[in-house]
Amino acid sequence: MDQGQPDAIHPLITKLNEALVLENKFQPHLQLPSVSQDPTEITTGIRDGSAHVLRCLKVWYDLPSDVLFVAINFMDRFLTKMKARPKHMACISVSSFHLATRQICQYQKSCGLEEVSAIPDTRDLVAISQCKCTLGDLTRMEGIISSKLDTEPGLLPITPLTFLQLFHALFIAAAERLGVGPLYAKMVAAPSLWLRLEILACDAACANFRASEVALVLLCTQLDSGVADLGTRQDPSTGAEIMRLVNFAIELQKLCKIPDSSFFCCHEVVLLILARYNAQCQMPHRQRLVWKLSQRTLRYLRPTDKLTSIMPTIDEHGQLQMPTRIRSGSVSSDESWDSEKEDVAAEWAPPLNPAEWTVGAMNPLPEEDESIVKGASSKFLRDAMAA
């Protein structure tokens, strides 16, 4: 079949084998409960919430997918090694994120790539992510993570994305060789592939599966839905072509030494996660965000906050009921009506300060004044991180 064309597959297989050798070194083994009465325990929900925040940050800073996978890998492996508290989760995840961007930037430079991802400014990252820790905390945490995981400058973790990229390239090459190149291209599109993998990475249910396994299962899932999309008007030849791709997948499964039982188990989990994503459900664990506004803007945010008194309701078909006046003749100020209290005119003292006469006049709006933050403080990071 390869009439003298350069063998695209072989180098990829070599790379795959290299990745497989290193796979276990970067495998997390999360042991997080799904629910916990203990407020000091990190649950899968908390972990997933953080992962989604990282995903949002990735989009925000316009960074490649790699950043997210490396960051989540750091985070999960750190959680595997250390029993951390929920209040540190934000710091751990954002530090992992920053560490990931630095590592990837370094790696890209060392590869001599022209386009190198920008590393987000740490101060900016702390502010935007609302990770509730200081700059110093973040830097220290990065150091701790780096040291605990023994990160090396030139070596990026092997993640499901590593394998997915390899598998995808292998499939393209194999499909070309098998004469089903266009078919594969129609069934599997790259951007949505990485996207779906990101969704899987953000779910703790996938964290303990082998990276190669998750990647291959996703690719097969994509092939399955590709087949469904092709519709029932398949002719026998398309069926045969699809079988070639399926067989190739089986080959890869064998190569990666993924047992059938494990593969099917992973497949179930992946389908569940993708179904939830497609159903466009709301995420169960949302970050409690702080909405920062200046004093000036917050004052009278609701126009009716300015109203100090409300007059008693007058029924359309009734009379206004007046309570009997106290007969002492002294001016009483605590009249109470049927509905609300009303300022008795006699008691009202006009504000003598002229500045208060101009009720509601709005002054020209300068830049924001003092900011007030509705959320928590930023005191942080004890040595409770000790192993």
Partner: protein, 391 residues
Amino acid sequence: MSSHRLFGIFGEDVPSSEQEGLFIRKLRQCCVAFDFMDPVADLKGKEIKRATLNELVDYITAGRGVLTEPVYPEIIRMISANLFRTLPPSDFDPEEDDPTLEASWPHLQLVYEFFLRFLESSDFQTTIGKKVIDQKFVLQLLDLFDSEDPRERHFLKTVLHRIYGKFPGLRAFIRKQINNIFLRFVYETEHFNGVAELLEILASIISGFSLPLKSEHKQFLLKVLLPLHKVKCLSLYHAQLTYCVLQFLEKDATLTETVVKGLLKFWPKTCSQKEVMFLREIGELLDVIEPSQFAKIQEPLFKQISRCVSSPHFQVACCALYLWSNEYIMSLTEENSHVIMPIMFPALYRISRGHWNQTIVALVYNVLETFMEMNGKLFDELTAKAERQNV
């Protein structure tokens, strides 16, 4: 000092049979006006009048059976003589200047107090009162709402509220006159000092409307209340106006569409301070909106909000973004994410690429993260689309 009786000019005791006559004489005494522009003129006379007015306030408060039929017209005459005057011409700018306070306030205040005690007295009889408190009287009262003195307007507000409450026969007339005042204000003069006070009274009237709402009232909302948003000095009465609008919506939620469309129609195009007011009103409105009504107005409304988010004016953008800090608005957005997110996304994405103001950037991030958590798939689709369009 309370008193169930009036005393003669020399402080002498006056028998009960003559109290009514004395009352009337004192009322007539108080019809005499004094010149307060000259601070030293007639000090003794001013003091006597002040003391007499005080005495009358006490008398009417504490006395029983003092409101006999003959005194009603005398009371109205005294009140009219003191209150009804041509207000001095003014070029007072309520947003900039300090008001000129009423010089004769020492007397006026007591007259107003007296008036209020009169109306609120348990002895007050509407059947007799309506003979002397007529349309002509009410008209003159309404004119006084243009007084620069906020203390006077405060009394007038309470007085008119009581009159409206006690005289059902005058209600339609009062509503019509207030209509006229507002329409003249909106479409001709843009000047009237008593808009806020009149709106306060209206709020208590609106909250008492029976259901189903009469068409006349709905027309009032559409033709008067909504156009009141147009005026330049909206800030002077926006709180009261918003409250009136909210009262209407509490009565009849189906009016929401009318209200929102009206606000969108009058949306400020050049004044950012007004835009901030409108956004805050929308915020209050959304806080109580019914989901079915929300679905009806979401598209045009969020198109406007998207424009506000992109506003070069920092506070406008802030107020627009801050809407999503409200849990209820958040949940409404989530229920209708497929409509709202595509409308909001382009502006949010653009700002995320770079904006000079850190507060805005942080708020945009919050909204985007919220959207992502609301509907991850749609978020991803919109991001991909925005990236394609950006390239």
